[in-house]
Symmetry: C2
Subunit: 339 residues, 2 copies
DNA sequence: TTGTATGCGTTATCAT
DNA sequence: ATGATAACGCATACAA
């Protein structure tokens, strides 16, 4: 049983609970004589004492818990992000508690409620659709909150993001430089800023170059490989000449699309070039290796954790939004037109 | 601020805190008059009251939190498992808190310490190497604990697992039925039961059939695609005739191996057949689509959550170990010998 | 049906 | 350097 309490330890040594408390505390153990400190520590070990964080939190007014909400655990991109968060937090003795909203607004609301009831010291969320803006603003008003990966323009919530517009442009410029003039994009959900930004950046760059850009929307809510399959079907059903190059709004969509096109007899990159987004693990190991736009997932997570920590420390004046820059990674899924 | 307390609500209505407490409690609100109940509820909503789970937990002796420890968040197999856990738990109002050990024993120990200090009501862990047995036994003696996915023979800890021996045998029988007689297996870490079970099942079935089985060990600690690359290198360096069929101990290893073999000029399945394990998302979308052994990830998670709940309820007598059966999924990465 | 009183395990404040 | 004591916010046994 974890029923050993501080009082038990104190009694065992023959000191007062407050002395025992001081002796075991990391910041106040200098206030106690080296001797009693050792005796208390020994007793604690011997009795198998474990501090009760609940009680401690109740008294001190903070829990040392940071709530981390992710949209979709199946998105391979999230792994590095969570590691970045966990590393930055663990270093300071905080405990991240992660939950998945499956990109559902209802679940997000429930999760936020529970986390607030848990009295988390801060929240980091990668789940934020346009429809969640009011909810998250309310949450942010109750506890330090930061958005990671996804932005929510106009929410005023501190954000560690990346420049999706630039990312979309990078994809476009790459395909244009390969001579493609009929392009399409396989769009992610339109109520998420990441995809709107990618779409805008891509479309603008393509049109500025005088090339043609076709936007293909999915009827599904999540940017998964299934969405990629569906989008590829629609691409195939398009009237007129088929685009020779495609920008998929993330790697999963790209992989789903490549597969569907292949089943329809089209080879990537010979018949059609495809650029993905995120550079998730394994994209370099598949056939064809995916040309994609790389995002610094680990770094995003790390910075998000650090930002929430500075907000918790009351450092409201510090920079409250950071935008990392994506980077194009050229592999085998894109090829010069006509080769 | 979430500083609204139960007393505030009670004062606002003009009742005692205990009445307010009863009114807002789900199991005892029948003890209060319908009228005051409504008034308390209204006041709570109006003031933005949030129950303080820390305080409640301190008083009631349980937190409603279940600690969930996963070995590796980058393993795509874990997504469905976590969903199973979250669904089963959420339905009963419990909150899963997930953490990743990165398959490190040190981190696992730290995580367990923190979770015990948090006074979680139960722990579900998919991280368990042979070296962690003592630690986990100690943890299990303090709080209801169940192993999910990975087993730890001899630990006596309740487990929701799957039959790895059968899984290995399924892979072997499939390859043997295709006419292969020189087989190899790309082994996962040997201090994890899953891989030992797969190895045994495979080797026995192969040898029983009078065929040849070569075991290839990796020098790395984690069964990732990098390990797959390394194992494939070793496969290529093998003296004598090359195996014509390979059992990779999971899908990531398989994908890494296929890629490395391809770079060396060998095509899967034409030159070499490969079977994976887990059937993670996307394996059916890559080229070649992976033949693999499917595990019911969601079900594993769901059952693990239910098992930990019955343990928490003190139902110690109930079945404490469940073993699910894997299933072979034949796709394009395996082919009849000589075609 | 409601109120009173007490304690869950800690830590902070004030003494000593 | 240590002890006594009072909260933190809530839930319960008991009294009314």
């Amino acid at each position: 049983m974890g029923r050993v309490t501080l009082k038990d330890v104190a009694d065992h040594v023959g000191v007062n609970v407050s002395t025992a408390s001081r002796a075991l505390s990391h910041d106040r153990n200098s206030l106690v004589s080296p001797d009693t400190r050792r005796r208390v520590e020994d007793a604690a070990r011997e009795l198998g004492y474990r501090g009760n964080l609940q009680a401690s939190a109740l008294r001190r007014g903070r829990t040392g818990i940071i709530g981390v909400i992710v949209a979709d655990l199946n998105n391979p991109f999230i792994g590095p992000v969570l590691r970045g968060v966990a590393n930055a937090l663990g270093g300071r003795g905080l405990l991240p508690i992660m939950t998945e909203s499956r990109d559902s607004s209802d679940e997000l609301a429930q999760i936020c409620d529970k986390m607030l009831a848990q009295r988390v010291d801060g929240i980091i969320t990668t789940a934020g659709r346009y429809g969640d803006r009011a909810l998250l603003k309310r949450v942010a008003s109750e506890v330090p909150t930061v958005l990671a990966v996804r932005q929510l323009p106009g929410s005023g919530i501190p954000t560690i993001g990346h420049d999706d517009t630039v990312g979309g442009r990078l994809a476009a410029e790459h395909l244009l430089s390969l001579g493609h003039t009929r392009l399409a994009q396989l769009m992610g959900p339109e109520d998420i800023w990441s995809f709107e930004g990618r779409a805008n950046g891509f479309r603008r760059a393509v049109e500025d170059a005088g090339a043609m850009c076709t936007d293909i929307q999915a009827a599904v809510r999540l940017p998964t490989s299934d969405a990629g399959c569906q989008l590829a079907e629609r691409l195939l059903g398009l009237p007129g000449e088929r685009p020779t190059a495609v920008f998929a709004h993330n790697d999963s969509i790209a992989i789903g699309a490549i597969d569907t096109l292949r089943r329809a007899g089209l080879t990537c990159p010979d018949d059609i070039s495809i650029v993905g987004f995120n550079d998730v693990p394994l994209t370099d190991k598949i056939l064809p290796p995916l040309t994609t736009v790389r995002l610094p997932g680990y770094e995003l997570g790390r910075l998000a954790a650090e930002l929430v920590l500075t907000r918790i420390d009351g450092n409201d004046g510090s920079a409250n939004t950071v935008m990392l820059t994506p980077e194009l990674v050229v592999r085998g899924s894109t090829i010069e037109l006509g080769t």
